[in-house]
Structure formats: C-alpha cells, structure tokens
Amino acid sequence: MSSTSSGAMEQLYQQLILDHARERHGYGLRDAADPSRVGESFQVNPTCGDEVRLRVELSPDSGAVSDLSWEGIGCSISQASTSVLSDLVIGAQVSDVVATSDRFSELMQSRGAGLGEEAEDALGDAAAFAGVSKYPARVKCALLGWMALRDALIKVSKGE
C-alpha cells in the first residue's frame, strides 16, 4: 500500500492546473457588446453530469475572438482546462483558435505519448494537460470547454 501519493498525481495535477482550477479565468458570463456576433454553447459531460455554458464574441470582421466567458461546474481538470482556454483564446485569430483546439484534441487522444516538444510548445499552458491523456476517463473533462468553444464558434458563424 503506497502511503504517499505517487509522482503520477503530481504529473497529472500540475500546479498550473490546480491554480487555474481555483482561479477560473473567464468565469462568469458577460453580456455581449453586439449580440449578432455572439455564439453560446451548453455542453454536458454525460459520464459525470458536469456542465459548461460558454459564450464567445467575435470581432466586427469575424476574424478574431474579442471576448469569451463561461460558467459551469466540473472537476479541476475541466475547470482548469476552460480557464486556460480563456487565456489562450481571447484576442486570438479564429483560425489559430481552431488549430489550437485541433492540436489539443490530438494531445488528449495521444494516450500519454504526447505530441512532441514543438507541437506542445505551440499549445502554451494547455500543454500542462498532457498527463490527462493517460486516463481515458478524464479526457472528456479536459475537452469539455473546448467542445463548447467549437460549438459556439459554429453557432456564431451560422448566426444562431
């Protein structure tokens, strides 16, 4: 019986993750400057029942994410992941956001193998979640906010 937590826990729950889980950047839904440029998505993780509601607002030329805010409940992984996402996405070009989101999904599907240094560097703080990919049951946690983001972007582009 191990009596101290193994290194695996420190690797999974990096200090950056615990900090973001506490601070939750972007938390609290904000009203939009221009409702026609806003997309909102509500996602549930059916395994645990946790939820996120996420709102994006695009710049007038639709090229960039001018604002993003969210609310929800979930585990430290999901809360931290959505918090990091907020930092990465606000102000970024939509095309870059989509690329980051793809890369992050790929990282999550990597089953602990990672994506290599270069690709992970490009993920910035989101690379801290690499350890999650070792735990298939937690991958959905890390992706919950990102799925909401993708869905919200689709909605705003469709003008829903």
Partner: protein, 442 residues
Amino acid sequence: MAPVTGTTATAVDTGGHTLTAAELAAVRADFPLLERTVRDGRPLVYLDTAATSQKPQCVLDAEQDFYERRNAAVHRGAHALAEEATEAYEAARAAVADLVGVDAGEIVWTKNATEGINLVAYAISNATLGRGGAAAERLRLRAGDEIVVTEAEHHANLVPWQELCARTGATLRWLGLTDDGRIDLDTLPVINERTRVVAFTHASNVTGAISPVGPIVAAARAVGALVVLDACQSVPHLPVDLRALDVDFAAFSGHKMLGPTGVGTLYGRRELLEAMPPVLTGGSMVEVVTMAETTYMPPPQRFEAGTQMVAQTIGLHAAVGYLAELGLDGVAAHEAELGERMLAGIAEIPDVRVLGPADGADRLATVAFAVEGVHPHDVGQFLDDAGIAVRVGHHCAQPLHRRLGVASSARASAGIYTTPDDVDAFLATLARVRPFFVEGRA
C-alpha cells in the same frame, strides 16, 4: 437460509456471524481478481462492489464447465446435450427462486435488472394498447392514472416509468426524501386511489439506505396499486424473502451478486405474470404461429424470447450457491461491520461529508461522500492512484444527488471479500485528498 443445491465451492460457512480473519482470507482466495495490482504495482483495494461485484472461481468454473461439456440450445432439442443443458438451466432458475423465497415459475431471466423493470413497464404499456386480452385488463392504464416512484431511485427505476407515462398518458409522481436521503414517509399520501404502480428501491445504490418496505407496500395495497421493488442492491447483501415483503415484482442483476454479467432476474407474482402480455417476442415463447397471428406460452417462457443467456444462468447458479453457503445473514453481518468502520473513519476526516444516513442502522456498507472543495472525480482519481477503486459520478441517480445538493459524489462500497484493511487504506488515503488539492503542495 435454505440450502441451495448446485455448484458451491467455499468451505466458509459464516453461521450468520461476521467473518474471522482466517475465514475472510479463505473467501478472498476464491476471488482471483483481488490478487491483481493496478497503477504500477499497487495492490488493488476494490471498493466498487455496488457497481459490480467480483466473481469467485466457482462461478467462472461453472460457466466454463458448461461450455466445455453441456453447451446446447435449451427447451428446443431432443438430443442428449440439449437435455443436459435444459436441466442445468432450469436448476439455476430454481436456485434463484429459492434464494429469494418464491417459486421457480415466477422467475423470468433477463439480461440485467434494467431489462426486468422495463419488461414490467412494457407489459403494462402493451396491455394499455389492447394486447393480452381480458386477462390483461387489470394492467391497463387509463387517463388520470398515476405511477409513483421515489426521489432515491436509480435511473433504471425512474426512466422506464417516465417513458411509460409518456406512452400512455399516465402521470408520474414521487415520494420525497429526508435530508439524509431516506424515503420520507410523510410524503406517503402521494400514493392515492389513482395510483396504479408504486416502484421503489429496496436499498439505495448511493446512500446505502434500506427502504421502509412495510409502510410503502401497505400504502400501495390500500389503494390496490402494484408494487415493483428494485432489489438490485439488497439481494446481494441481505437475506431477502420477496414473498414476506409482499411485493408484486422485483428485479435484480447477477453481476452485482457474485454472478456473471449478462444475466438478471425479474420476479413476478404468478397470477400477474399470467395476466401480462409478452414484451419481447420470437422463438421459444410461442405456441401456435401462423402468418396472421400467434398464441403464447405460459410464464416464465412467455417472457423469454430467443436464445437465452444459458451459460450465465449456470454461472449465477454457482454464485447463488456460494452466497447461500456463506449465509446471507453472515454476509450482512460482515458488511455491516465494514460499513460502521467506514462511517466512523469518515467522521474523523475534516471536511468530508457523508451523503445519506450517518450511522450504520438500516443501511448497507455503501457510502457516498463529498470532500469539501474537491470534485468527486478528482477524489476518485487520487484514490485510484493509490490502488483504491471507488466510483465517482452521479451513480445513475441524478435526482437523488440534486436533492442532496450536489451534482455528483464519490462512493465506496464493500462486499463479502472486503477487509478492514481495505477500509483503513481507503480512509488513510481519503484523509490526504483535501490537503493535496486545496491546501496546495509544498
């Protein structure tokens, strides 16, 4: 507990008392999986028996032996193998019936408890659509009819009734809960003369609370409602006499009672089974079939369409034999001791709250809990890292969690093979959870 004929294996007879350390070691030796290690070599501490139990070797052997020596289609062939397979299959039915104090003809095989409850709901719904002739009259729902469940139900004993209401126009109502998760008998007046079915759980898979069956059955009987008992969590852990409980239907699952996956049981009072139209239809449940119409066999065959989970019923027979040899009263005594130990231990850990009854009376050794400020999934992950398997999530009981003010929880649950050391390892690791997540690391 009447001795059950059939494959049994353990030498341990609890005599109704809790197990000695030596007896417990002998029991554990029967369960091969308990020897494995997880997460880089940590010994497994399996505290997820309420989700599914581990299986003793005799269950695996019984299934294997069936496939190696007697496998054939049952109730259909005249050859030697088919004869032997049919005999083994019906002996399993008799053993399960015996365990819960009913007749073999009142036991219908299902793939799991969920199917058993759905079977009752669909029989009622088919009767309402006119199937089953005059015999099914008493099952037909009419405008204004009500079905009563409780807020404590597993989704398996809630959603089928919601859907039955949606299909028939009946109304779903429910008994409420007290703050510690017990069925609130003050809400019994919800059962009234419009109530046609009362469906409730014998024991909660979240709070471990054992339901006050007597008063609920009495209220249902007083208005002539049918009683459906979800016995998933009781049959594996307590002596259960369904006839004495006076319920009309009861469902439970093999995989939670040391048996195989893929087999469950629906008990139905004989005259009700006889009145029910079939639900699944096909081979082995018909009498005369023409292209235009079909007549059906009597129960239980009427409800067993197609090739059944024969090998699994034989495995379940071995599991029932194993439980009966231990004695369910002994199982209950052993688990009660473990439950007390868990509750006492948790009470000493700051910021951990038990969801459900805080003391050991009328409850199982199934303990859901919340660690203040730490999400249950993170709690579970931390325990898992130490080799301790608990379940996290809503445990298929979202309304119950909502009622208790949380979205989800972590849950530790014991079985006959659980040791006091398992409980202690769990408690020691649980005490380190909040410091790890909330108080920051050195």
